[in-house]
Structure formats: structure tokens, C-alpha cells
């Protein structure tokens, strides 16, 4: 789940999602097109989605890694 997809029909190749991600989950293809390379490391902070000017990134809030709960 987490950062689920980039809508390439709308993506303008601005690479802002790649630049802002605190967990560094994106990589660039041909130094231009961002893709989701490390999806399970996404922490659902929405910065990529908030930053995207084309509304091309979609984040699902479900946790990417199973994290033990306190009880």
C-alpha cells in the first residue's frame, strides 16, 4: 500500500516527489522520470502528494512495514 502509484498520464517529470521524500523511496529513470523504487519504506507522510502540482501521486495511509504494537 503506502505510496501506491504515480499517474504518468498527468506526471510532468518535475521530479519534486523524488526531491522531497524523507524516506527516499523514489528513483529516477533516465534522470527524468520518477518511479516508486522502495515502496515499503514509505511512511505515508503525504509530502510527495502534497508537493505534486499535477495531482499525479497517490498515497494510501496503510503502513508499509508490519510494526509491532505495544499491546
Amino acid at each position: 500500500m503506502v505510496v501506491e502509484y504515480i499517474d504518468y498520464e498527468n506526471c510532468s517529470d518535475c521530479t519534486l516527489c523524488f526531491e522531497v521524500c524523507p524516506m527516499d523511496v523514489f528513483r529516477l529513470l533516465n534522470n527524468r522520470m520518477a518511479y516508486i523504487a522502495y515502496q515499503s519504506d514509505c511512511m505515508c507522510c503525504y509530502l510527495c502528494e502534497i508537493t505534486c502540482r499535477e495531482d499525479a501521486v497517490f498515497v494510501n495511509p496503510k503502513r508499509g512495514q508490519p510494526i509491532p504494537l505495544p499491546y
Binding site: P22, M43, K62, P68, P70, Y71
Partner: protein, 572 residues
């Protein structure tokens, strides 16, 4: 030598090196620039989007001219059960508003709002978690961080991003800089400086809670290995969070009428804190949650259904990510109660860390620390808005002290003996062809640390058992395998987290009483007679040395020898 063959190196020189680009680091870099020309700020991610500052949930606590500083100081000191450095609290009371005015000035210059104000331009101030005498401002975290980044850039701070610092470079007990690697290219970095400011946050162990999963205690671990003195490491912070996904904003939601219910629909917090109830401090909340669950009255819910329409709008404005998550999941917290759990926060927020004095100087020559990397000096145990205010004030102070010292110091830009051996250690996981992947290692660590009867309701046998299990895990550090550079970052994070976890457990074992976040079932009283002390930790020859040091109480002292700690029900 292997590293020389495989990976390129880069050397950078500075007068002041700031490690960490959150609020503390940016403030430190901006302030240091007033004293020296070459200020370099390095961050593991994107400055202004890194660490926990961009995810601050909207509140900032400072003494305004109309406030009573003595009442504010008492509230801060008492909220942390007297663990505060009282001289620091006085300092923060004195200069906090100066820092607010500076940030407000930069905010107006950039046209981005940091502080919420009314129609007359007056700061909005409210009372939320723990506030009786003090009040907090409301801040917009993401614009705040953008303002700070722009200001640093305008002042000429050199910003280097996507570099993970793994070690302090030492010679004869003095720091000469730091070493690390680029998180995308693997390029090894040697950063040499006259003074170093550690401001890379604490260690949240990739726990639940939004925005904290790249806080893995990297610089705290580097400081520990370099011999820095640490303080109050048993005081692991905790916040609370929705069970299903990671969000923040509980403080604001309580402010607008949120209440905690147990499995019997009882608003139980009044049994633990008859004065504040749902607005109780974080240690009280998380320990009460654990006690309710242990006694069979779980689960715990947050009920915000009584919030007024205008407050619902405020919550949506200040907590955009939180409400995006709610909306996307089809859950409306204003319509239905939601399950709420403790979210272990480790050394992030009001908790332990590198010991600093009122100049933010650490025990290592030339090294300063600010924000969550340091042992947060007000130690206010979840009094809303204090950690963010401390980040900015300690950053301001660190920038000033480190800048002044650097201006008066000779240039030390020379290669540090042995630094390549250090680099070999931190790149070793990528040189393997098999081993334990970081995700598995980190999950194993979390499974040993996060159970509530280990990290919240502590006993000697359970802490000893957890330490033994952690020791087994520690022996597997050498087996960590990183198939690529991204995994190398996580492998190093894993190594750092296991070290910080050990200090937390050892410090918890050492403090034989209950105080603030630290609750011992086998020592369930706050013992002011024997334990009005800080737990001090230092690493010497790979061994931890723990001692207790008396806490000076020049302005405020506890009145009872023994008292009821937080998170225990009031007797009927």
C-alpha cells in the same frame, strides 16, 4: 582500502558543521552564519522535509511579555517531575520570545505563515496538553520549515542533502568533523570543521507515528561512540496514535474537546489526573492507557465527536496529512470514536540524549548539540509545545556558541587519522553477498523493545530479559547485508538503533524508582529522597558506564520525599 577501490570520496571544509536540517539545525546554521563565513548544513534527507519538525502538530510554547515567567518555569519543571535543567528553563523563559519574534519576522519577509494570528495580527494562544499556567502558539509546520530553509539559503549556508553522517571524526579527544556517505550514490564524505553542531533529532526506532521513521538516532549513536556523555536515557518519549495508520495531532484534537474512553466507554483519564483529565501530560496518558489495558479495560479510544464546526476546520487546516489519511480511509473522527494506542517515541521529543550545558556545549571539545539530539533540557514530559520551542531556542544558542568558538579557533582542516577505517565499518554491509536484511533486523529489534511491559510498565526481570535478547541481536550486527546503497542507509540505521535501545534499557534498569515517562512496577513511587538525580551514561572501551548525578534545584524543589508518579490511578 576496499572503500577506496569501490566508492568515490569527497572532502568538505567548514567553519561550523551543522548535522541535521530540522528546526534546530536550520536555526543553528542561520545563527552561526552571523559569526563565521563557512557554515555547512548536512542532512540525511531533504532539508525542511526531514526529521520530525515538518510534522510538528501545530503547537509552540514560549513565554510572552504578558506571561508570568516564574509560573511558566514552575509548570515546565513540575511537568517533568524535576528532571529539567532549571538554569536552562530560566534561559528558555528569557530568550524564547526573542526567537519567536525572529521567526515571525522571517515569516513575514517570505510571505509564508508560521504563527496563526487573529484579525488584529495578535498571536493565537491556547491551552492544550498539560497547560495550566502556560499557553501555546499555533504554528503551521510545513510553511515554517520552508521559511527556515529559505532564510538559511539567503544567509549563504551551504546545504548538503542525502548524506547520512555515521561517525564523528576525533583526534586527541577533540572533534574535527564528521564522516558519512551519500544515500544515493554511496560517495563517502569527510566533513572537516572547527566546530560541530549535532542537530539530527533523536531515535524513534521507526515506530508508529507520522513522520518519524527516518529518525534513527544516527548522530546520537555517533556521539556515543565518540565518548559523549548522555543523560536521562531512561526517559524514552512516547506519543499516541491511531491504531490503524500513522497520524499526529492528538494534542490539538484534545484541545478541541477530544476525550479518551476505555473499552467500557468510561472517560477514564479523570481517575488518573482529576485536574487535567484528557489534557494530562503524555507520560500520564500512555501509562494510563497501558494500565487500563493490563487491567482488562482496553482498548482505548479517542472521541472527538463533540468538536465545534470551527474547531473541525482548524484541525483540518493545521493537520492536513492527518485528515487526508482519515478521508482516504473513509473514517471521520468527528463522527465516530477511533482506537488510540501509545506510540513509542524513543529519544525523540522530551527525552534523553547528549548532555549539554546552557551554551549547548557537550562533553566533547568543539561539539555542541541542539534539539532532540541533546537531552532535552526543559525535560517537560509532554507539556505541549515545549520540544519545538526547545529546538528553536537550543538551535539559536548552539549556532551562537559554535559560531563564536569557530571564529576564535585555528583552522583544523586536515585529514583525520583512521577515518578511512571508520568508513570501512559503515560501508561493510554493502560489501557482503548475503546476510540479514535491515528490515528483518529492525523488526526483530522493535519486537523486543515495543511491548508495553518492556518499554512502559518496566520491571527488573523483564528489562534483564529484553537486554539479553537485545544482546543476541547485537551480535548479528556484523551479519547485516545491504544489497544496494538504499539498504546500506537502513543497515546503518539498524546498527544505530540497537545501540540506542541498549542505552535505554540499561538506563531503565539503573533508575530504581518511577519518574516522568519511566515507570517501574517494582519501584512504583517517585523517590525524591534518593533519586532526585539524573542517570548519566558514557561509553568507554565499548562498555557502558552508568552513574547518578544530583539534579540542582535552584528555583523549584519537590515538596514530598515520596510521591505518586504519573500514570497511576488516584486512590479513591
Amino acid at each position: 582500502m576496499i572503500c577506496e577501490k569501490k566508492i568515490a570520496k569527497r572532502r568538505i571544509e567548514a567553519d561550523v558543521l551543522v548535522i541535521g536540517g530540522g528546526l534546530a539545525g536550520l536555526m543553528a546554521a542561520i545563527r552561526a552564519k552571523a559569526f563565521v563565513p563557512r557554515v555547512v548544513l548536512v542532512d540525511k534527507a531533504k532539508v525542511s522535509k526531514s526529521g520530525c519538525s515538518p510534522f510538528a502538530a501545530g503547537i509552540y510554547n514560549a513565554v510572552f511579555p504578558e506571561d508570568d515567567p516564574d509560573l511558566w518555569m514552575r509548570e515546565v519543571i513540575e511537568s517533568g517531575d524535576f528532571l529539567a535543567d532549571q538554569e536552562w528553563v530560566k534561559l528558555q523563559a528569557e530568550i524564547g520570545f526573542t526567537v519567536v519574534k525572529l521567526m515571525d519576522e522571517w515569516s513575514q519577509q517570505s510571505g509564508l505563515p508560521i504563527f496563526e494570528k487573529d484579525d488584529q495580527g495578535t498571536f493565537q494562544r491556547r491551552k492544550s496538553r498539560g497547560h495550566v499556567h502556560s499557553s501555546h502558539c499555533i504554528i503551521n509546520a510545513l510553511p515554517m520549515m520552508e521559511v527556515m530553509r529559505r532564510k538559511a539559503a539567503a544567509e549563504g549556508v551551504q546545504i548538503i542533502e542525502r548524506v547520512m553522517i555515521t561517525e564523528l571524526l576525533m583526534a586527541d579527544g577533540t572533534a574535527l568533523g564528521a564522516a558519512g556517505f551519500n544515500c544515493r550514490t554511496g560517495q563517502i564524505m569527510q566533513l572537516l570543521a572547527r566546530t560541530v553542531i549535532l542537530a539530527a533529532g533523536g531515535c524513534s526506532f521507526k515506530s508508529i507515528f507520522v513522520g518519524h521513521k527516518n529518525l534513527t538516532g544516527d548522530v546520537q549513536a555517533a556521539a556515543l561512540r565518540a565518548g559523549a556523555v548522555f543523560k536521562s536515557m531512561e526517559q524514552a518519549n512516547s506519543n499516541t496514535c491511531y491504531r490503524g495508520f500513522d497520524i499526529h495531532g492528538m494534542n490539538l484534537m484534545v484541545n478541541v474537546g477530544g476525550r479518551f474512553l476505555n473499552g467500557q466507554d468510561e472517560e477514564f483519564m479523570w481517575r488518573y489526573n482529576p485536574k487535567l483529565g484528557n489534557r494530562a501530560l503524555l507520560p500520564e496518558l500512555v501509562l494510563a492507557f497501558c494500565h487500563e489495558v493490563k487491567e482488562g479495560r482496553g482498548p482505548i479510544y479517542l472521541d472527538v465527536t463533540s468538536a465545534k464546526p470551527e474547531d473541525r476546520q482548524l484541525c483540518r487546516k493545521i493537520l492536513p496529512g492527518t485528515f487526508r489519511a482519515w478521508d482516504r480511509s473513509g473514517i471521520d473522527p468527528f463522527q465516530t470514536k477511533v482506537e488510540w494506542v501509545p506510540a513509542f517515541g524513543g529519544t525523540r521529543g522530551t527525552s534523553g540524549g547528549v548532555e549539554v550545558d546552557t551554551q549547548t556545549h557537550t562533553s566533547i571539545a568543539n561539539v555542541f548539540a541542539a534539539g532532540d539530539t541533546s537531552a532535552v533540557a526543559p525535560a517537560s514530559a509532554g507539556l505541549g509545545g515545549i520540544p519545538l520551542a526547545y529546538a528553536s531556542v537550543s538551535g539559536y544558542r548552539a549556532g551562537e556558541a559554535a559560531g563564536q568558538l569557530a571564529a576564535a579557533s585555528p583552522d583544523v582542516s586536515r585529514d583525520v587519522p583512521g577515518w578511512e577505517e571508520l568508513a570501512s565499518r559503515f560501508i561493510s554491509p554493502i560489501l557482503k553477498t548475503k546476510g540479514i536484511l535491515p528490515d528483518k533486523f529492525i523488526h526483530d529489534l522493535q519486537s523486543r523493545l515495543f511491548p508495553y511491559d518492556v518499554c512502559y510498565l518496566k520491571t527488573r526481570p523483564r528489562l534483564v530479559k529484553a537486554l539479553a535478547e537485545l544482546n543476541e541481536l547485537k551480535h548479528k550486527v556484523s551479519e547485516l547485508w545491504a544489497p544496494d546503497i538504499h539498504q546500506l542507509v537502513k543497515a546503518n540505521e539498524a546498527m544505530n538503533m540497537v545501540l540506542i535501545a541498549e542505552v535505554f534499557l540499561r538506563s531503565s534498569l539503573f533508575r530504581e524508582e518511577s519518574r516522568s515517562y519511566h515507570f517501574r512496577e517494582d519501584y512504583p513511587l517517585q523517590d525524591n529522597k534518593n533519586w532526585l538525580k539524573w542517570v548519566i551514561v558514557k561509553m568507554e572501551d565499548s562498555q557502558f558506564k552508568l552513574t547518578a548525578r544530583d539534579i540542582p534545584t535552584p528555583y523549584c524543589r519537590p515538596t514530598e520525599e515520596y510521591s505518586r508518579p504519573k500514570g497511576i490511578r488516584v486512590a479513591n
